[in-house]
């Protein structure tokens, strides 16, 4: 999997590169429009992470170039401009998704994986973790080959954890990923605990090991240790 990150802010760029390299991607980075333009003309990428405000140009032009070249690369826009128009225009131009700054790195990587999953029909169509198998297209969960009935939220939770095996996921990022803005209605993250408890119970009932670890004061992680 080869990614191009177009971001002019060096510290944010380095974070993105580091995080995604750890996720197992081959990552290249461009600091401005000229570099980005050159790279997409020369190389093929599976996905491009694109900041819209670049010192020497508009990131939307990179999307236009990609689409004009009929590139198969997916495009994920990350922008400091929260303006609705930018979002709409970006998606209209053919970007796959839009993420406003600031964002959770785990959310970014989940969206990236979703884009790649959607685009690569020849690729892996299911996620595996120990005795757990998930088919995202059918929203099906199997333990030892046996289907498990989960609610929509429990499934979303599991899929988010499965997308980030071994990573610590903050409560904020989990809540935002699964419940979106609605999570603001809660005055604590207790609801997260309730849902995870139910998920754990349902998986263990089917003979699945308990891999969901609570990280004290921080959040949760999926791990075999």
């Amino acid at each position: 999997m080869k990614l191009l990150i177009v971001e002019d802010e060096p510290t944010l760029r380095s974070s993105l590169v580091e995080y995604l390299v750890q996720d197992g991607y081959v990552v290249e980075a461009a600091a401005n429009y000229a570099q980005a333009h050159e790279k997409i003309k020369l190389y093929q990428y599976d996905c491009v992470l694109l900041d819209l405000t670049l010192p020497d140009g508009n990131g939307l032009d990179v999307v236009r170039t990609l689409k004009a070249d009929r590139s198969p690369a997916g495009v994920l826009i990350i922008s400091a401009r929260g303006a609705l128009d930018d979002r709409v225009l970006g998606l209209e131009l053919g970007a796959d998704d839009y993420l406003a700054k600031p964002f959770h790195l785990s959310e970014l990587s989940a969206r990236l994986k979703a884009i790649i999953r959607r685009r690569q029909f020849q690729g892996q169509r299911h996620l595996l973790f120990q005795e757990l198998t998930v088919f995202p297209d059918q929203a099906q969960v199997l333990v030892h080959g046996e289907p498990v009935a989960l609610t929509r939220k429990e499934y979303d939770l599991l899929l988010y954890l499965l997308t980030h095996p071994g990573r610590v996921l903050t409560k904020e990022s989990i809540a935002e990923h699964v419940w979106g803005d609605a999570a603001d209605a809660a005055d604590s993250f207790d609801f997260l605990y309730t849902h995870l408890k139910n998920l754990r119970r349902k998986l263990q009932d089917k003979g699945c090991g308990d891999y969901i670890r609570s990280v004290y004061g921080v959040g949760y992680k999926l791990s075999v240790e």
Binding site: Y19, E172, G219
Partner: protein, 417 residues
Amino acid sequence: MKLLAATNRYYLLLAALLFSLGSGLLYFGVLWALQGEVEERLFQQRDYLRAQVQRTGRLPGTPFEGRMQLSATPQPEGLRDVQLLEPLENELEPYRQLTFRLQLDGRPQWVSLSKALLETGHVQRLILLLLAGVLGTLLLSMVLLNRWLARRLWTPFKHTLHQLRGYDVRQHQVLRLPDTHIEEFAQLNHTLTHLSERVAADYAMLKEFTENAAHETRTPLAIMQAKLEQLLQLPDLPAPAGPLIADLYAAVQRLARLHQGLTLLSKIENQQFAAAVPVPLAGLLREKLAQLEDFMDQKQLRLDVQLSAEPVLPLHPALADSLLTNLLHNAIRHNQPGGLLRVRLSATELVVSNTGAALAAGQQPAQFFERFRKQNAASDSPGLGLSIVQSIAAFYGFEVRYGYAADQALHTLRVVF
């Protein structure tokens, strides 16, 4: 009171005073002059009579105009007013009488000469009438002139007022006030134009600053959040560091949410949500309630929803979403475990009620709509929800009313379309 009415009142007061004073003076003046005239004639007749009597020794035959009486008994000499019977009209008339002594045939005789004051009464009435007429006309024309002048001369002032009333600094406009030849108004217009230019410039600067600041804070926030997340992933992170970083992370999140709320508020105020599409509120409400189900279950809230109409309003989709989200979030967040959440939608209004903390004495409901006003200071919500609700409502001309029923500590927010 209008300026014109106020000045007119003073004019009328002064005119009435002058009028009564003037007519009094004139009345007594004319009276005095006429009486003097009558007396002078009486004196002339006396002197004539004396001269005749001295020369001829007896009274002249032809009677004087007016009356003359002779009396052998002594009479008080001098001038006085008397009422005498007018034989023709058979009624008493006022007369001025002069009495003096004459030596007739060696014996003293008292002669009383009388002259009618009747004519003077006529003159007085005429004068009063004339005076009243002239003064009245003067007064009336003055009032009319004033009114006309006010309409004419105050036109530029009224124009300025009209312009000021329609002035809104957010429209990025400068006041356009016409030149006028009245110096005071010209000065006023000049000052106001200058003022509006300064206000518009300040406002534009402030707005640009806010927009830039909003934009520029997003990237550092993204950096902070990314670095903290990376920090949490470090394999040999000491265990006590986790919660510390998590707190930092939560704080960054709060800042981001606050930022989002403020940006939305300033966008609404800058009228950046012009496009409107028909939004079916009932459907959107059902959707929102479904999304919030988990959080209502968590608090074990009793949900009581009655959507008795399906109003379709022309709204910007994002604002409609934000309006409902903030109303419902507010009602859930500030609810008590096991409390009540009541939602009523009719063709004319949306009412969201929730049980919650009792309203403290002296707490003003208007404060809930202020930015950063929180019932619970420890809450990590930025406290912008209700001001966003109010901003959106104001943008669409809806009315937001807050009600509180003390018996069940029920807070009610009513949005009237």
